[in-house]
Amino acid sequence: MHEVTLIVNGVPRQARVPARRLLSDFLRHDLGLTGTHVGCEHGVCGACTVLLDGQPVRACLTFAVSVTGQEVTTVEGLAKDGELSPVQRAFAECHGLQCGFCTPGFLTTVTAFLRENPAPADDEAIEAVAGNLCRCTGYQNIVKSVHRAAELMAEEGP
């Protein structure tokens, strides 16, 4: 068993877990943060994507013990003071989700992407979400949401 401490959404969180514990299971089962979804567990669907020190990674392909001491942002950490983030509002406004299973992964991925590319062209927006699968929306509204989020962020400033 290993003592694992992570800064999750700005708060230090600790648990004793086996070396084999995936970061996705650590978040969901040990910390009770079930916003991070698990679809395929082999890196393909992107539902489990979280930000590790600000960069998107697959929580299902990372052992919690490997990232001890690092910062993790999950979908629960995107809203600030009870207000949805611009990316979350854009997805709601543009119907960028239906069942919502894939959504946490899209939200974290798009949040990191827009930080690096605040005004993406259409093909850039499409490529940004190409590593996330959605069985419901057909992606059109997700791409719209990316553009809308960029607009909201530009309007509201940092």
Binding site: G43, L52, V57, C60, L61, T109, G131
Partner: protein, 257 residues
């Protein structure tokens, strides 16, 4: 690093290195691999460096695909490295997966082993008996198999600058997937060669200097040399055809680069 090498040696055949985990953890999650012990190198100091050396660039075992892709040092020494990395999986996988890990994993469908083979690079390994450099031509021994010995840690890979222009092209079912076929090419003043992915047990390097700039002829040479297999994505014939087309394209692009 000494501790990692020791732990690996102590674990013997039961031990495996855990680098980015982007190939090993899927295999474990699917219960296709069940290593007894993992030696996690993610916190080992001194393994993440990307350094310019005479005649090329050395990439440390912990340099993530995304870091190597963004590295101006690597790009200046060998631009093919960045171009090839953009074809490896998706950014979220590249943020964690390592370039050296992908070479050691030695998937014949992977881009970076082919790039290393094309350029005639090498892998630096450290084991209980010390350090050695393994040339790419001897490194890849079969699908997912390398000449790395039990207990050896790959500490870095060296990508030579190589004289001439380079290019890489591939066709994948979906953006970010492993390629059905792909070709990396190097064309210099008096040499031309390609490395093909997904058409053999290891990256297949074919010297096409004798085509003398007739890239359609080079494509025919490549088609004769490869032995692709069929799988759910493509028939063997289609792979052979496609590899020829891609070889011609990559060679043209490399010659113009």
């Amino acid at each position: 690093m000494a501790e990692a090498v020791e732990a690996l040696a102590a674990a013997g055949a039961d031990g495996k290195v855990l680098a980015g985990g982007q190939s090993l953890i899927p295999l474990m999650n699917m219960r296709l691999a069940a290593p007894g012990q993992l030696v996690d190198i993610n916190h080992v100091a001194g393994l993440g460096e990307i350094t310019a050396e005479a005649g090329g660039v050395r990439v440390g075992a912990l340099a993530r695909h995304a870091e190597v892709e963004a590295s101006e040092t690597a790009f200046a020494a060998q631009p093919l490295v960045r171009r090839a990395l953009r074809l490896v999986a998706h950014p979220a996988v590249r943020n964690r997966g390592t370039t050296v890990g992908s070479i050691v994993h030695a998937d014949p469908a992977a881009e970076m082993p082919a790039v290393l083979a094309l350029l005639g690079g090498s892998v630096r390994a450290r084991g209980p008996e010390g350090e050695r450099d393994i040339p790419a031509a001897e490194f890849f021994t079969g699908p997912m198999e390398s000449s790395l010995r039990t207990g050896e840690l790959a500490v870095s890979a060296f990508f030579p600058a190589a004289e001439g222009g380079t290019a890489i092209v591939e066709v994948a079912r979906r953006h970010g997937d492993y390629a059905m076929a792909g070709v990396a090419a190097l064309v210099g003043p008096d040499h031309a060669r390609v490395a093909c992915l997904s058409v053999g047990a290891v990256p297949v390097v074919v010297d096409v200097t004798e085509a003398e700039g007739d890239w359609a002829r080079a494509a025919r040479i490549v088609r004769e040399r490869i032995e692709p297999e069929a799988d759910i994505h493509a028939t063997a014939d289609y792979r052979r055809h496609l590899t020829g087309v891609l070889a011609e394209r990559a060679l043209k692009e490399a010659a113009d680069a």
